[in-house]
Protein backbone atom coordinates (compact mmCIF):
# COMPACT_ATOMS: atom_id res chain seq x y z
CA UNK A 1 0.00 0.00 0.00
CA UNK A 2 1.50 3.31 -1.07
CA UNK A 3 0.52 6.62 0.43
CA UNK A 4 0.63 9.78 -1.61
CA UNK A 5 0.79 12.32 1.13
CA UNK A 6 0.54 15.49 -0.90
CA UNK A 7 -1.62 17.57 1.37
CA UNK A 8 -3.87 16.32 4.09
CA UNK A 9 -7.34 17.67 3.63
CA UNK A 10 -8.61 17.56 7.18
CA UNK A 11 -12.11 18.77 6.25
CA UNK A 12 -12.83 15.69 4.16
CA UNK A 13 -10.58 13.21 5.92
CA UNK A 14 -12.61 10.15 6.88
CA UNK A 15 -13.14 9.46 10.52
CA UNK A 16 -11.36 6.17 11.14
CA UNK A 17 -12.56 5.79 14.71
CA UNK A 18 -16.31 5.74 14.01
CA UNK A 19 -18.12 2.53 13.05
CA UNK A 20 -17.52 1.90 9.34
CA UNK A 21 -20.20 2.79 6.79
CA UNK A 22 -19.49 -0.40 4.87
CA UNK A 23 -17.58 -3.41 6.10
CA UNK A 24 -16.84 -6.37 3.85
CA UNK A 25 -15.04 -9.26 5.51
CA UNK A 26 -13.68 -12.31 3.71
CA UNK A 27 -16.41 -12.28 1.11
CA UNK A 28 -16.42 -14.91 -1.63
CA UNK A 29 -19.05 -15.38 -4.29
CA UNK A 30 -19.71 -18.38 -6.52
CA UNK A 31 -22.57 -18.25 -9.01
CA UNK A 32 -22.61 -21.86 -10.18
CA UNK A 33 -22.01 -24.62 -7.68
CA UNK A 34 -18.48 -25.91 -8.19
CA UNK A 35 -17.80 -23.15 -10.72
CA UNK A 36 -14.99 -20.62 -10.54
CA UNK A 37 -15.34 -18.00 -7.79
CA UNK A 38 -16.32 -14.53 -8.99
CA UNK A 39 -14.98 -12.98 -5.79
CA UNK A 40 -12.52 -14.50 -3.36
CA UNK A 41 -11.58 -13.32 0.11
CA UNK A 42 -12.52 -9.69 -0.39
CA UNK A 43 -12.00 -7.32 2.56
CA UNK A 44 -13.05 -3.70 2.29
CA UNK A 45 -13.89 -1.07 4.86
CA UNK A 46 -15.41 2.28 4.04
CA UNK A 47 -15.32 4.92 6.78
CA UNK A 48 -18.29 7.26 7.26
CA UNK A 49 -18.02 10.14 4.80
CA UNK A 50 -15.35 8.40 2.76
CA UNK A 51 -15.29 8.33 -1.05
CA UNK A 52 -13.89 5.01 -2.27
CA UNK A 53 -13.42 4.11 -5.92
CA UNK A 54 -13.45 0.43 -6.86
CA UNK A 55 -11.37 0.09 -9.98
CA UNK A 56 -10.87 -2.93 -12.20
CA UNK A 57 -11.01 -4.38 -15.70
CA UNK A 58 -14.43 -5.47 -16.93
CA UNK A 59 -15.48 -8.82 -15.51
CA UNK A 60 -13.40 -8.52 -12.35
CA UNK A 61 -16.48 -8.75 -10.14
CA UNK A 62 -16.64 -5.12 -9.02
CA UNK A 63 -20.32 -4.82 -9.93
CA UNK A 64 -20.98 -8.11 -8.16
CA UNK A 65 -19.32 -6.72 -5.05
CA UNK A 66 -21.49 -3.61 -5.27
CA UNK A 67 -24.67 -5.70 -5.61
CA UNK A 68 -23.60 -7.66 -2.54
CA UNK A 69 -23.11 -4.45 -0.55
CA UNK A 70 -26.50 -3.22 -1.83
CA UNK A 71 -28.07 -6.39 -0.47
CA UNK A 72 -29.50 -7.43 -3.85
CA UNK A 73 -27.52 -10.70 -3.66
CA UNK A 74 -26.27 -12.67 -0.65
CA UNK A 75 -22.61 -13.69 -0.51
CA UNK A 76 -21.61 -17.36 -0.71
CA UNK A 77 -19.18 -16.82 2.16
CA UNK A 78 -18.09 -13.95 4.37
CA UNK A 79 -19.81 -11.06 6.10
CA UNK A 80 -21.10 -7.73 4.87
CA UNK A 81 -22.22 -4.99 7.20
CA UNK A 82 -23.66 -1.67 6.14
CA UNK A 83 -24.39 1.11 8.62
CA UNK A 84 -27.78 1.90 7.05
CA UNK A 85 -30.73 -0.35 6.46
CA UNK A 86 -30.90 0.37 2.75
CA UNK A 87 -28.01 1.96 0.85
CA UNK A 88 -28.88 4.12 -2.17
CA UNK A 89 -27.77 2.69 -5.51
CA UNK A 90 -27.17 4.25 -8.92
CA UNK A 91 -26.81 2.13 -12.04
CA UNK A 92 -24.87 2.69 -15.24
CA UNK A 93 -28.21 3.36 -16.94
CA UNK A 94 -30.32 6.15 -15.45
CA UNK A 95 -33.05 3.48 -15.03
CA UNK A 96 -35.74 6.14 -14.79
CA UNK A 97 -39.32 4.95 -15.20
CA UNK A 98 -40.42 6.38 -18.55
CA UNK A 99 -44.10 6.82 -17.68
CA UNK A 100 -43.25 9.20 -14.85
CA UNK A 101 -41.91 12.74 -15.00
CA UNK A 102 -38.49 13.63 -13.58
CA UNK A 103 -40.22 14.72 -10.40
CA UNK A 104 -42.42 11.60 -10.40
CA UNK A 105 -39.33 9.39 -10.41
CA UNK A 106 -37.90 11.19 -7.40
CA UNK A 107 -41.30 11.11 -5.68
CA UNK A 108 -41.49 7.33 -6.08
CA UNK A 109 -38.35 6.99 -3.95
CA UNK A 110 -39.94 9.29 -1.36
CA UNK A 111 -43.15 7.24 -1.43
CA UNK A 112 -41.14 4.04 -0.89
CA UNK A 113 -39.56 5.72 2.11
CA UNK A 114 -43.00 6.56 3.50
CA UNK A 115 -42.89 10.33 3.02
CA UNK A 116 -46.41 11.78 3.25
CA UNK A 117 -48.03 12.66 -0.07
CA UNK A 118 -48.24 16.36 0.74
CA UNK A 119 -44.52 16.66 1.42
CA UNK A 120 -43.35 14.67 -1.60
CA UNK A 121 -43.75 17.32 -4.28
CA UNK A 122 -41.77 19.99 -2.43
CA UNK A 123 -39.09 17.54 -1.35
CA UNK A 124 -38.66 16.29 -4.93
CA UNK A 125 -38.32 19.86 -6.16
CA UNK A 126 -35.68 20.53 -3.49
CA UNK A 127 -33.71 17.42 -4.49
CA UNK A 128 -33.87 18.34 -8.18
CA UNK A 129 -32.47 21.73 -7.20
CA UNK A 130 -29.55 19.97 -5.49
CA UNK A 131 -28.61 18.38 -8.82
CA UNK A 132 -29.09 21.67 -10.70
CA UNK A 133 -32.40 20.71 -12.26
CA UNK A 134 -34.60 23.34 -10.62
CA UNK A 135 -37.88 23.78 -12.46
CA UNK A 136 -37.33 20.76 -14.74
CA UNK A 137 -39.37 18.34 -12.64
CA UNK A 138 -42.34 18.38 -15.02
CA UNK A 139 -40.32 17.01 -17.92
CA UNK A 140 -40.80 13.49 -19.19
CA UNK A 141 -37.79 11.19 -19.17
CA UNK A 142 -37.52 11.15 -22.98
CA UNK A 143 -37.34 14.93 -23.01
CA UNK A 144 -34.14 14.93 -20.96
CA UNK A 145 -30.56 14.53 -22.20
CA UNK A 146 -28.33 11.69 -20.98
CA UNK A 147 -26.61 13.91 -18.42
CA UNK A 148 -29.89 15.29 -17.13
CA UNK A 149 -31.31 11.78 -16.78
CA UNK A 150 -28.31 10.68 -14.77
CA UNK A 151 -28.76 13.74 -12.52
CA UNK A 152 -32.42 12.84 -11.98
CA UNK A 153 -31.19 9.36 -11.06
CA UNK A 154 -28.81 10.98 -8.57
CA UNK A 155 -31.67 13.03 -7.14
CA UNK A 156 -33.70 9.82 -6.83
CA UNK A 157 -30.80 8.14 -5.03
CA UNK A 158 -30.55 11.13 -2.69
CA UNK A 159 -34.30 10.86 -2.08
CA UNK A 160 -33.61 7.52 -0.44
CA UNK A 161 -32.07 9.62 2.32
CA UNK A 162 -29.33 7.07 2.93
CA UNK A 163 -25.88 8.11 4.08
CA UNK A 164 -24.34 5.34 1.97
CA UNK A 165 -24.39 5.82 -1.80
CA UNK A 166 -23.32 2.98 -4.11
CA UNK A 167 -22.61 3.84 -7.74
CA UNK A 168 -22.10 1.31 -10.54
CA UNK A 169 -20.21 3.08 -13.37
CA UNK A 170 -22.88 5.78 -13.37
CA UNK A 171 -21.15 8.07 -15.87
CA UNK A 172 -19.68 5.46 -18.24
CA UNK A 173 -22.17 6.15 -21.01
CA UNK A 174 -21.78 9.94 -20.96
CA UNK A 175 -19.58 12.17 -23.11
CA UNK A 176 -16.42 13.64 -21.55
CA UNK A 177 -17.75 17.18 -21.04
CA UNK A 178 -20.94 16.03 -19.35
CA UNK A 179 -18.97 13.57 -17.24
CA UNK A 180 -16.66 16.39 -16.10
CA UNK A 181 -19.65 18.42 -14.99
CA UNK A 182 -21.20 15.46 -13.19
CA UNK A 183 -17.91 14.79 -11.39
CA UNK A 184 -18.09 18.30 -10.00
CA UNK A 185 -21.73 17.88 -9.04
CA UNK A 186 -21.09 14.56 -7.35
CA UNK A 187 -18.12 15.76 -5.28
CA UNK A 188 -20.12 18.85 -4.25
CA UNK A 189 -23.15 16.77 -3.19
CA UNK A 190 -20.90 14.22 -1.44
CA UNK A 191 -19.23 16.95 0.63
CA UNK A 192 -22.49 18.79 1.37
CA UNK A 193 -24.43 15.70 2.42
CA UNK A 194 -21.48 13.92 4.09
CA UNK A 195 -22.14 10.73 2.14
CA UNK A 196 -20.11 7.55 2.18
CA UNK A 197 -19.64 6.62 -1.47
CA UNK A 198 -18.52 3.39 -3.14
CA UNK A 199 -17.98 4.25 -6.78
CA UNK A 200 -17.34 1.41 -9.24
CA UNK A 201 -15.50 2.33 -12.44
CA UNK A 202 -13.11 0.97 -15.04
CA UNK A 203 -11.86 4.47 -15.82
CA UNK A 204 -8.56 5.11 -14.00
CA UNK A 205 -8.64 8.89 -14.40
CA UNK A 206 -12.18 9.04 -13.10
CA UNK A 207 -11.10 7.06 -10.04
CA UNK A 208 -8.12 9.37 -9.45
CA UNK A 209 -10.34 12.42 -9.98
CA UNK A 210 -13.01 11.34 -7.49
CA UNK A 211 -11.73 9.00 -4.81
CA UNK A 212 -10.13 9.59 -1.45
CA UNK A 213 -9.10 6.02 -1.83
CA UNK A 214 -8.73 3.98 -5.02
CA UNK A 215 -9.03 0.23 -4.60
CA UNK A 216 -7.72 -1.87 -7.48
CA UNK A 217 -9.39 -5.20 -8.10
CA UNK A 218 -7.84 -8.12 -9.98
CA UNK A 219 -9.80 -10.61 -12.08
CA UNK A 220 -10.42 -14.37 -11.95
CA UNK A 221 -11.04 -14.57 -9.13
CA UNK A 222 -12.08 -11.04 -8.24
CA UNK A 223 -9.99 -9.84 -5.31
CA UNK A 224 -8.42 -6.68 -4.03
CA UNK A 225 -4.89 -6.23 -5.35
CA UNK A 226 -3.81 -2.88 -4.11
CA UNK A 227 -5.04 0.46 -2.89
CA UNK A 228 -3.98 4.09 -2.95
CA UNK A 229 -4.81 6.91 -0.55
CA UNK A 230 -5.45 10.06 -2.53
CA UNK A 231 -4.75 13.17 -0.53
CA UNK A 232 -5.15 15.65 -3.35
CA UNK A 233 -7.78 18.10 -2.04
CA UNK A 234 -11.11 18.59 -3.80
CA UNK A 235 -12.04 20.31 -6.02
CA UNK A 236 -9.70 18.46 -8.33
CA UNK A 237 -9.76 18.45 -12.11
CA UNK A 238 -9.24 15.39 -14.22
CA UNK A 239 -6.35 17.02 -16.10
CA UNK A 240 -4.52 18.40 -13.06
CA UNK A 241 -0.86 17.21 -13.03
CA UNK A 242 -1.08 15.44 -9.67
CA UNK A 243 -4.28 13.63 -10.68
CA UNK A 244 -2.73 12.61 -14.03
CA UNK A 245 0.46 11.43 -12.34
CA UNK A 246 -1.53 9.25 -9.94
CA UNK A 247 -3.66 7.92 -12.80
CA UNK A 248 -0.44 6.98 -14.61
CA UNK A 249 0.84 5.01 -11.66
CA UNK A 250 -2.46 3.21 -11.18
CA UNK A 251 -2.68 2.42 -14.91
CA UNK A 252 0.73 0.76 -14.87
CA UNK A 253 -0.38 -1.38 -11.96
CA UNK A 254 -3.66 -2.22 -13.72
CA UNK A 255 -1.79 -3.19 -16.89
CA UNK A 256 0.49 -5.49 -14.91
CA UNK A 257 -2.57 -7.11 -13.37
CA UNK A 258 -4.35 -7.53 -16.70
CA UNK A 259 -1.35 -8.94 -18.57
CA UNK A 260 -1.06 -11.78 -16.05
CA UNK A 261 -4.12 -13.24 -17.78
CA UNK A 262 -2.61 -13.12 -21.26
CA UNK A 263 -0.50 -16.23 -20.84
Amino acid sequence: MTAHALTVDSATAPDATAAPAVSVQGVSQVFTRGGPPVLQGVDLTVAPGEFVCLLGASGCGKSTLLNLIAGLVSPTAGRIEVSVERPALMFQEPALLPWLTASGNVELALRARGVARAARKAEAERLLEVVNLAGQGGKRVHELSGGMRQRVALARALAQDSSVLLMDEPFAALDAITRDVLHQELTRVWAEQKLSVVFVTHNVREAARLGQRVVLMGSRPGRIVREWRVDIPQPRTIEAPDVSALAGRITRELHKEISRHGH
Binding site: L72, E93, W99, A109, N132, E143
Partner: protein, 307 residues
Protein backbone atom coordinates in the same frame (compact mmCIF):
# COMPACT_ATOMS: atom_id res chain seq x y z
CA UNK B 1 -18.19 29.93 -23.87
CA UNK B 2 -19.97 27.10 -22.20
CA UNK B 3 -17.70 24.43 -23.65
CA UNK B 4 -14.41 25.97 -22.53
CA UNK B 5 -14.38 23.89 -19.41
CA UNK B 6 -10.69 23.54 -18.50
CA UNK B 7 -9.97 27.25 -18.63
CA UNK B 8 -13.01 28.27 -16.66
CA UNK B 9 -12.12 25.70 -14.03
CA UNK B 10 -8.46 26.64 -13.90
CA UNK B 11 -9.36 30.28 -13.45
CA UNK B 12 -11.92 29.33 -10.88
CA UNK B 13 -9.44 27.54 -8.65
CA UNK B 14 -7.74 30.79 -7.82
CA UNK B 15 -10.97 32.80 -7.77
CA UNK B 16 -13.64 33.06 -5.14
CA UNK B 17 -15.71 29.95 -4.44
CA UNK B 18 -18.97 31.74 -5.29
CA UNK B 19 -17.65 32.66 -8.70
CA UNK B 20 -16.72 29.04 -9.35
CA UNK B 21 -20.11 27.72 -8.36
CA UNK B 22 -21.71 30.33 -10.61
CA UNK B 23 -19.55 29.32 -13.55
CA UNK B 24 -20.24 25.63 -12.98
CA UNK B 25 -23.91 26.36 -12.96
CA UNK B 26 -23.72 28.23 -16.23
CA UNK B 27 -21.77 25.35 -17.79
CA UNK B 28 -24.46 22.96 -16.60
CA UNK B 29 -27.20 25.21 -17.94
CA UNK B 30 -25.40 25.55 -21.29
CA UNK B 31 -24.93 21.77 -21.56
CA UNK B 32 -28.56 21.15 -20.75
CA UNK B 33 -29.67 23.65 -23.38
CA UNK B 34 -27.39 22.12 -26.03
CA UNK B 35 -28.19 18.57 -25.03
CA UNK B 36 -31.95 18.81 -24.90
CA UNK B 37 -33.68 16.05 -26.84
CA UNK B 38 -34.14 17.13 -30.47
CA UNK B 39 -37.41 18.88 -31.17
CA UNK B 40 -39.99 16.79 -32.92
CA UNK B 41 -41.19 18.07 -36.28
CA UNK B 42 -44.16 20.38 -35.84
CA UNK B 43 -47.60 18.82 -35.79
CA UNK B 44 -49.04 18.79 -39.30
CA UNK B 45 -51.86 21.22 -40.05
CA UNK B 46 -55.52 20.27 -40.69
CA UNK B 47 -55.08 20.44 -44.48
CA UNK B 48 -52.16 18.00 -44.41
CA UNK B 49 -54.03 15.68 -42.07
CA UNK B 50 -56.98 15.74 -44.48
CA UNK B 51 -54.83 15.09 -47.55
CA UNK B 52 -52.65 12.56 -45.72
CA UNK B 53 -55.08 10.38 -43.82
CA UNK B 54 -58.73 11.31 -44.56
CA UNK B 55 -58.67 11.61 -48.32
CA UNK B 56 -57.01 8.24 -49.21
CA UNK B 57 -59.67 6.03 -47.58
CA UNK B 58 -62.45 8.20 -49.09
CA UNK B 59 -60.96 7.82 -52.58
CA UNK B 60 -60.61 4.07 -52.08
CA UNK B 61 -64.22 3.86 -50.89
CA UNK B 62 -65.43 5.79 -53.95
CA UNK B 63 -63.50 3.40 -56.20
CA UNK B 64 -65.05 0.42 -54.43
CA UNK B 65 -68.58 1.78 -54.89
CA UNK B 66 -67.73 2.49 -58.56
CA UNK B 67 -66.70 -1.12 -59.16
CA UNK B 68 -69.81 -2.31 -57.33
CA UNK B 69 -72.01 -0.08 -59.54
CA UNK B 70 -70.29 -1.49 -62.66
CA UNK B 71 -70.87 -5.04 -61.46
CA UNK B 72 -74.53 -4.19 -60.82
CA UNK B 73 -75.01 -2.62 -64.25
CA UNK B 74 -73.27 -5.57 -65.90
CA UNK B 75 -75.70 -7.94 -64.10
CA UNK B 76 -72.94 -10.27 -62.87
CA UNK B 77 -75.54 -11.58 -60.42
CA UNK B 78 -79.29 -11.12 -60.53
CA UNK B 79 -80.44 -7.90 -58.75
CA UNK B 80 -81.93 -9.77 -55.74
CA UNK B 81 -78.46 -11.19 -55.06
CA UNK B 82 -76.46 -8.09 -55.89
CA UNK B 83 -78.47 -4.91 -55.46
CA UNK B 84 -76.93 -1.65 -56.63
CA UNK B 85 -75.37 0.94 -54.33
CA UNK B 86 -78.40 3.22 -54.59
CA UNK B 87 -80.82 0.48 -53.41
CA UNK B 88 -78.60 -0.36 -50.48
CA UNK B 89 -78.28 3.33 -49.64
CA UNK B 90 -82.07 3.54 -49.62
CA UNK B 91 -82.45 0.54 -47.31
CA UNK B 92 -79.68 1.96 -45.11
CA UNK B 93 -81.51 5.25 -44.86
CA UNK B 94 -84.84 3.51 -44.07
CA UNK B 95 -83.16 1.44 -41.36
CA UNK B 96 -81.70 4.58 -39.84
CA UNK B 97 -85.03 6.47 -40.10
CA UNK B 98 -87.26 3.81 -38.55
CA UNK B 99 -84.79 3.60 -35.65
CA UNK B 100 -83.86 -0.04 -36.23
CA UNK B 101 -80.24 0.86 -36.95
CA UNK B 102 -79.75 2.70 -33.66
CA UNK B 103 -81.71 0.11 -31.69
CA UNK B 104 -79.54 -2.65 -33.10
CA UNK B 105 -76.32 -0.69 -32.53
CA UNK B 106 -77.35 0.13 -28.98
CA UNK B 107 -78.36 -3.46 -28.18
CA UNK B 108 -75.14 -4.92 -29.59
CA UNK B 109 -72.83 -2.23 -28.30
CA UNK B 110 -74.17 -2.35 -24.73
CA UNK B 111 -73.94 -6.15 -24.85
CA UNK B 112 -70.43 -5.91 -26.25
CA UNK B 113 -69.38 -3.35 -23.65
CA UNK B 114 -70.75 -5.44 -20.79
CA UNK B 115 -69.14 -8.59 -22.15
CA UNK B 116 -65.87 -6.75 -22.64
CA UNK B 117 -65.82 -5.35 -19.09
CA UNK B 118 -66.53 -8.85 -17.79
CA UNK B 119 -63.71 -10.25 -19.95
CA UNK B 120 -61.45 -7.44 -18.78
CA UNK B 121 -61.92 -8.42 -15.15
CA UNK B 122 -61.54 -12.16 -15.75
CA UNK B 123 -58.69 -11.78 -18.26
CA UNK B 124 -56.72 -9.40 -16.06
CA UNK B 125 -57.02 -11.65 -13.03
CA UNK B 126 -56.07 -14.68 -15.11
CA UNK B 127 -53.09 -12.84 -16.61
CA UNK B 128 -51.87 -11.75 -13.16
CA UNK B 129 -52.29 -15.25 -11.77
CA UNK B 130 -50.39 -16.74 -14.70
CA UNK B 131 -47.61 -14.21 -14.14
CA UNK B 132 -47.42 -14.92 -10.43
CA UNK B 133 -47.49 -18.71 -10.62
CA UNK B 134 -45.01 -20.52 -12.82
CA UNK B 135 -47.01 -23.72 -12.36
CA UNK B 136 -50.26 -22.11 -13.47
CA UNK B 137 -48.51 -20.59 -16.48
CA UNK B 138 -47.16 -23.99 -17.49
CA UNK B 139 -50.52 -25.65 -16.91
CA UNK B 140 -52.91 -23.11 -18.38
CA UNK B 141 -50.67 -21.21 -20.81
CA UNK B 142 -50.91 -23.59 -23.79
CA UNK B 143 -54.71 -23.87 -23.45
CA UNK B 144 -55.13 -20.10 -23.21
CA UNK B 145 -52.97 -19.61 -26.29
CA UNK B 146 -54.88 -22.35 -28.08
CA UNK B 147 -58.21 -20.73 -27.22
CA UNK B 148 -56.93 -17.56 -28.87
CA UNK B 149 -56.86 -19.31 -32.22
CA UNK B 150 -60.11 -21.22 -31.71
CA UNK B 151 -62.96 -19.35 -33.45
CA UNK B 152 -65.30 -18.63 -30.57
CA UNK B 153 -68.33 -19.29 -32.79
CA UNK B 154 -67.43 -22.94 -32.14
CA UNK B 155 -68.71 -22.42 -28.59
CA UNK B 156 -72.18 -21.27 -29.71
CA UNK B 157 -73.82 -24.73 -29.88
CA UNK B 158 -72.44 -25.63 -26.47
CA UNK B 159 -73.51 -22.31 -24.98
CA UNK B 160 -77.05 -22.74 -26.33
CA UNK B 161 -77.29 -26.25 -24.90
CA UNK B 162 -76.08 -24.98 -21.49
CA UNK B 163 -77.95 -21.69 -21.29
CA UNK B 164 -80.66 -21.94 -23.98
CA UNK B 165 -81.27 -18.86 -26.13
CA UNK B 166 -80.36 -16.31 -23.51
CA UNK B 167 -77.97 -13.48 -22.82
CA UNK B 168 -75.96 -15.88 -20.67
CA UNK B 169 -75.23 -17.95 -23.78
CA UNK B 170 -74.10 -14.84 -25.65
CA UNK B 171 -71.83 -13.68 -22.81
CA UNK B 172 -70.29 -17.14 -22.52
CA UNK B 173 -69.23 -16.96 -26.14
CA UNK B 174 -67.96 -13.38 -25.80
CA UNK B 175 -65.93 -14.26 -22.70
CA UNK B 176 -64.36 -17.31 -24.28
CA UNK B 177 -63.41 -15.11 -27.23
CA UNK B 178 -61.93 -12.14 -25.36
CA UNK B 179 -60.46 -13.47 -22.12
CA UNK B 180 -57.49 -15.36 -23.66
CA UNK B 181 -56.31 -12.29 -25.61
CA UNK B 182 -56.52 -10.02 -22.59
CA UNK B 183 -54.77 -12.50 -20.28
CA UNK B 184 -52.03 -13.19 -22.81
CA UNK B 185 -51.57 -9.49 -23.57
CA UNK B 186 -51.09 -8.68 -19.90
CA UNK B 187 -48.76 -11.65 -19.41
CA UNK B 188 -46.55 -10.79 -22.38
CA UNK B 189 -46.53 -7.14 -21.32
CA UNK B 190 -45.32 -8.13 -17.86
CA UNK B 191 -42.74 -10.52 -19.25
CA UNK B 192 -41.29 -7.75 -21.40
CA UNK B 193 -40.70 -5.40 -18.47
CA UNK B 194 -36.92 -4.78 -18.34
CA UNK B 195 -35.48 -6.53 -15.24
CA UNK B 196 -33.71 -3.24 -14.45
CA UNK B 197 -37.07 -1.64 -13.56
CA UNK B 198 -37.75 -4.36 -11.00
CA UNK B 199 -34.27 -3.84 -9.55
CA UNK B 200 -35.04 -0.13 -9.24
CA UNK B 201 -38.16 -1.02 -7.28
CA UNK B 202 -36.12 -3.27 -5.00
CA UNK B 203 -33.35 -0.72 -4.48
CA UNK B 204 -35.90 1.96 -3.59
CA UNK B 205 -37.31 -0.44 -1.01
CA UNK B 206 -40.81 -0.90 -2.45
CA UNK B 207 -42.75 -3.88 -1.10
CA UNK B 208 -43.80 -6.67 -3.48
CA UNK B 209 -47.25 -5.12 -3.84
CA UNK B 210 -45.70 -1.68 -4.29
CA UNK B 211 -43.45 -3.00 -7.04
CA UNK B 212 -46.44 -4.53 -8.84
CA UNK B 213 -48.57 -1.41 -8.44
CA UNK B 214 -45.98 1.30 -9.17
CA UNK B 215 -43.43 -0.44 -11.40
CA UNK B 216 -44.60 -3.65 -13.06
CA UNK B 217 -48.17 -2.78 -14.05
CA UNK B 218 -47.35 0.65 -15.50
CA UNK B 219 -44.36 -0.84 -17.31
CA UNK B 220 -46.59 -3.57 -18.79
CA UNK B 221 -49.26 -1.10 -19.91
CA UNK B 222 -48.34 -0.98 -23.64
CA UNK B 223 -48.52 -4.78 -23.96
CA UNK B 224 -51.71 -4.85 -21.89
CA UNK B 225 -53.30 -2.25 -24.16
CA UNK B 226 -52.43 -4.39 -27.19
CA UNK B 227 -54.17 -7.30 -25.47
CA UNK B 228 -57.23 -5.16 -24.71
CA UNK B 229 -57.48 -4.02 -28.28
CA UNK B 230 -57.32 -7.59 -29.59
CA UNK B 231 -59.65 -8.68 -26.80
CA UNK B 232 -62.25 -6.14 -27.91
CA UNK B 233 -61.94 -7.24 -31.54
CA UNK B 234 -62.47 -10.85 -30.50
CA UNK B 235 -65.35 -9.93 -28.19
CA UNK B 236 -67.08 -8.01 -30.97
CA UNK B 237 -66.63 -10.83 -33.48
CA UNK B 238 -67.83 -13.44 -31.01
CA UNK B 239 -70.83 -11.28 -30.18
CA UNK B 240 -71.80 -10.98 -33.85
CA UNK B 241 -71.45 -14.74 -34.34
CA UNK B 242 -73.52 -15.40 -31.23
CA UNK B 243 -76.25 -12.91 -32.18
CA UNK B 244 -76.43 -14.34 -35.68
CA UNK B 245 -77.11 -17.84 -34.40
CA UNK B 246 -79.09 -17.24 -31.20
CA UNK B 247 -82.03 -15.54 -32.80
CA UNK B 248 -84.98 -15.21 -30.44
CA UNK B 249 -87.58 -12.44 -29.95
CA UNK B 250 -86.83 -12.18 -26.23
CA UNK B 251 -83.17 -11.43 -26.92
CA UNK B 252 -83.96 -8.12 -28.58
CA UNK B 253 -82.66 -6.89 -31.88
CA UNK B 254 -78.89 -6.70 -32.18
CA UNK B 255 -76.82 -6.14 -35.30
CA UNK B 256 -76.29 -9.88 -35.72
CA UNK B 257 -80.04 -10.45 -35.50
CA UNK B 258 -80.66 -7.66 -38.01
CA UNK B 259 -78.27 -9.46 -40.34
CA UNK B 260 -80.21 -12.69 -39.78
CA UNK B 261 -83.51 -10.98 -40.62
CA UNK B 262 -81.99 -9.87 -43.92
CA UNK B 263 -80.93 -13.43 -44.67
CA UNK B 264 -84.33 -14.93 -43.79
CA UNK B 265 -86.16 -12.37 -45.91
CA UNK B 266 -83.57 -12.83 -48.68
CA UNK B 267 -83.27 -9.05 -48.56
CA UNK B 268 -79.69 -8.53 -49.72
CA UNK B 269 -79.78 -4.76 -49.25
CA UNK B 270 -80.56 -5.29 -45.54
CA UNK B 271 -77.75 -7.83 -45.29
CA UNK B 272 -75.26 -5.35 -46.74
CA UNK B 273 -76.69 -2.57 -44.55
CA UNK B 274 -76.12 -4.73 -41.45
CA UNK B 275 -72.57 -5.55 -42.49
CA UNK B 276 -71.84 -1.86 -43.04
CA UNK B 277 -73.27 -1.02 -39.60
CA UNK B 278 -71.13 -3.71 -37.91
CA UNK B 279 -68.08 -2.41 -39.73
CA UNK B 280 -68.85 1.21 -38.75
CA UNK B 281 -69.10 0.31 -35.07
CA UNK B 282 -65.75 -1.50 -35.27
CA UNK B 283 -64.06 1.47 -36.95
CA UNK B 284 -65.62 3.95 -34.52
CA UNK B 285 -64.43 2.04 -31.43
CA UNK B 286 -60.94 1.75 -32.88
CA UNK B 287 -60.72 5.44 -33.80
CA UNK B 288 -62.47 6.85 -30.74
CA UNK B 289 -61.21 4.54 -27.99
CA UNK B 290 -58.15 2.42 -28.72
CA UNK B 291 -56.13 4.59 -31.10
CA UNK B 292 -56.19 7.71 -28.84
CA UNK B 293 -55.51 5.59 -25.75
CA UNK B 294 -52.51 3.93 -27.33
CA UNK B 295 -51.20 7.21 -28.73
CA UNK B 296 -51.36 8.95 -25.37
CA UNK B 297 -49.58 6.08 -23.59
CA UNK B 298 -46.82 5.86 -26.21
CA UNK B 299 -46.40 9.64 -26.51
CA UNK B 300 -46.00 10.00 -22.79
CA UNK B 301 -43.13 7.49 -22.85
CA UNK B 302 -41.52 8.97 -25.93
CA UNK B 303 -42.09 5.73 -27.84
CA UNK B 304 -43.66 7.22 -30.96
CA UNK B 305 -41.25 7.97 -33.78
CA UNK B 306 -43.71 10.14 -35.68
CA UNK B 307 -46.80 11.87 -34.48
Amino acid sequence: MAIDLPRSRRGSREGATDGRAGEDRSVVAGLDALDEAPLLPPRSGPVRVFVGSVLPPLIFLALLVGVWQLAYVARIKPPYALPGPSQVAQTFWETVQDGRAFDAIWTSLSRGAFGFVLSLAVGTLLGLAMWASRWLRAAVGPIVSGLQSLPSVAWVPAAIIWFQLSNAAIYTVVLLGAVPSIANGLLSGMKQVPPLFDRVGRVLGLSTLGRIRYVLLPAALPGYLGGLRQGWAFAWRSLMAAELITYSPKLGLGLGQLLNIGRELSQMSLVITSIVLILLVGIAIELLVFAPLERSVLNRRGLTATR
